[in-house]
């Protein structure tokens, strides 16, 4: 893939900012804020993974968190020590509770399993047009949840899966998130990404000039699933305890709101949306618990966070459907500024 230098510079700036903040957080922030930052990194990878498919193909994807869940559970099942699995997964099938493997190897296998599932779903997905495709992604999310909730021998069902080795550090998170930014940007600005974006604007025209839409859509789908798998494994190895609820609607709404606010056609937008919504949700969580603000006792309002996410989506769609960044990347902004300074009209 040949990528423009300007795109690479734009991605590098995003990476540098995140890494700089990460080093500061790792060095000085409280454990609570470090946790928050790590969750932010995981969500960022997930939002970027979502962007790769949704932003380039323009098909709304509600199933991305399903891939995260698959990867998270595979990692958990493989990497959890035998001592814990013996009691927690006493009836595990295929003798899965008789051995445990190194976390990194578990991540590798989890990614491969996720990709295998993504392949099967993807074969069906790429034959569909927008709306049925979207509903298929939603049905996929439900399937993953139903299996995780009901295959009790393998996943402990609705109960929490605990005792997963906590290995991931902020450094792992930073490395993965940086990789995700570069990957998303490289795909978007590659020949394939451009062709796929063109096909989402006009199927007939793109097809007429020889764009192989299904193949490209499939490529974006697989790349997206790969990034979701990384996010899922990372999450598992950081929190150490997961349940099917961790990978269902709450996270789906959250990541979608982030991407929509930032602008789904832009990698920079994904990052910006992730930052703003993370801060907003933190404020909402605080208000939700019924705190005392300026001597005023606020009522407990369970559901405020969800309300906030819904509001972000509706307001973005009504007033700025293409999100804060539109189809612009950070380097597009500089570039335009430089042209304007040079007196070139680009409107």
């Amino acid at each position: 893939m040949k990528i423009e230098r300007r795109a690479l510079a734009g991605a590098a700036v995003l990476v540098l900012v995140i890494v700089a903040v990460g080093i500061l957080m790792g060095g000085f922030a409280s454990p609570y804020h470090q946790r928050l930052f790590f969750t932010f990194l995981v969500n960022l990878i997930a939002v970027l993974g979502l962007q790769v498919f949704m932003g380039n193909s323009d098909i709304t994807h509600f199933g991305h968190i399903g891939f995260m869940g698959i990867s998270a559970y595979v990692t958990a099942i493989l990497a959890t020590p035998v001592a814990i699995k013996g009691s927690a997964l006493a009836t595990a099938p295929f003798g899965l509770n008789t051995f445990a493997i190194a976390p990194l190897l578990a991540v590798l296998i989890a990614v491969l399993v996720t990709l295998a599932v993504a392949f099967l779903v993807g074969v069906m997905m790429v034959r569909q047009n927008g709306v049925p495709a979207t509903i298929a992604t939603l049905a996929f999310l439900v399937i993953v949840n139903v299996v995780a909730m009901n295959w009790v021998d393998l996943t402990r069902g609705p109960r929490a899966f605990y005792g997963i080795p906590v290995k991931a550090t902020i450094a792992w998170g930073l490395a993965s998130a940086s990789f995700a930014i570069l990957l998303a940007r490289a795909f978007r600005d590659s020949k394939w990404g451009l062709q796929l974006r063109a096909s989402s604007e006009d199927v007939a025209a793109a097809s007429a000039v020889g764009v192989r839409i299904r193949k490209l859509r499939f490529a974006a789908w697989m790349l997206s699933a790969f990034m979701m798998a990384i996010a899922g494994s990372l999450f598992t190895l950081f929190v150490g305890t997961i349940s099917p609820k961790s990978f269902y609607f709450d996270l789906t709404f959250l990541t979608l709101a982030m991407l929509i606010l930032g602008g789904m056609h832009s990698v920079t937008g994904a990052v910006v949306g992730c930052v703003i919504v993370t801060i907003g949700v933190e404020i909402m969580r605080f208000l939700e618990s019924g705190p005392v603000v300026a001597g005023l006792q606020l009522p407990e309002m369970f559901g405020l966070t969800g309300f906030f996410l819904g509001l972000i989506i509706v307001l973005s769609m009504t007033f700025r459907p293409s999100g804060l960044m539109g189809a612009d990347e950070i380097d597009d902004l500089w570039h335009r500024r430089r042209l304007r300074k040079a007196g070139i009209d680009i409107s």
Partner: protein, 299 residues
């Protein structure tokens, strides 16, 4: 034989419920291209309206609650159209769909904030849950009613779409909105009617959903509407007859699986159903009555 009859009644009534919801989705989609993810939350709204009227006004007679359920949902659908969907009319289809998705999250969380997570019970309509004996089989009244109401509603809808000016305008709008407007038909009215019908059908479904569950909670609308979406996809998305067929097919498939699956696998039912639908779409991407997805290539 009796068992078979009983299960077919089961399948038909469930299929009827899905058909009512899927039709509502298809009507709105065909007229204004909106994928209404908030459709399920209209059911929730109807449920809460019935709950509040029952609890607030102390109406004990459940028969009086039935019109409350149906009409509140129809009005709510028209209200949503005005407030939420009018601003995004004519926008990119993704914009409309995501707006509806956001509206759905908003409604759920407003219910969560103001009414709470716990399910609230709605007075069950005794005559709905009663059983009648026909020949050798005992059938719940709700199943007979559900099937009958679905058939009547579809028949009325067909008459409306074929015989009335507004109905014909709606069918025309499904083909080409601009031309319909040039003919002097107000687009606002066509869209409002579509939402009213969609809400009315969802209102009917609300009654049956509640007769089965007996209680309302903020997220009760999700599962029925997801099934309705799947039904619409099976039938061919955007096709009205397809929505009905898809609903019935899905109802039959669910009841069959329920009968066939051993108890230990019962929890996986929806996973099996959706996987089967995925395989169906692999073979026939356009569903039963839909149009082939256009990838701009020669057919």
């Amino acid at each position: 034989m009796d068992y078979l009859l009983q299960q077919s009644m089961n399948a038909l009534s469930l299929g009827g419920e899905y058909a009512l919801l899927a039709l509502g989705l298809a009507i709105v989609f065909s007229v204004m291209g909106l994928v209404n993810f908030a459709h399920g939350d209209m059911i929730t709204f109807g449920g809460y309206a019935m709950f509040l009227v029952a609890a607030g006004l102390g109406i004990a007679n459940p028969a009086l609650l039935l019109p409350v359920g149906v009409l509140s949902v129809a009005l709510f659908a028209m209200f949503l159209e005005r407030v939420a969907f009018k601003p995004v009319r004519g926008a990119h289809p993704t914009t409309g769909m995501l707006t509806a998705f956001g509206v759905s999250i908003l409604i759920q969380n407003v219910a969560l904030i103001f009414v709470g997570t716990r399910a609230k019970s709605v007075p069950t309509m005794d005559f709905l849950v009663a059983n009648v004996t026909i020949g050798a089989i005992r059938v719940p009244v709700v199943q007979i009613l559900e099937t009958a109401v679905t058939v009547v509603a579809i028949a009325l809808l067909v008459v409306f779409l074929r015989r009335t000016t507004t109905g014909i305008a709606m069918r025309a709008a499904a083909k080409d909105v601009q031309t319909v407007r040039l003919m002097g038909v107000r687009a606002d009215r066509v869209v409002a009617t579509a939402f009213a019908i969609s809400g009315f059908l969802a209102g009917l479904a609300t009654i049956f959903v509640l007769a089965r569950r007996g209680a309302v909670d903020p997220f009760m609308g999700f599962t029925p509407v997801l099934k309705a979406f799947v039904a619409a996809v099976i039938g061919g998305f955007g096709s009205l007859p397809g929505a009905v067929i898809g609903g019935v097919v899905l109802g039959i498939a669910e009841v069959m699986l329920q009968v066939v699956l051993p108890e230990s696998m019962a929890g996986f039912r929806d996973a099996f159903i959706f996987t089967a639908v995925g395989v169906l779409l692999l073979v026939r991407p356009q569903g039963i009555l839909g149009q082939r997805p256009d990838f701009g290539e020669k057919s």
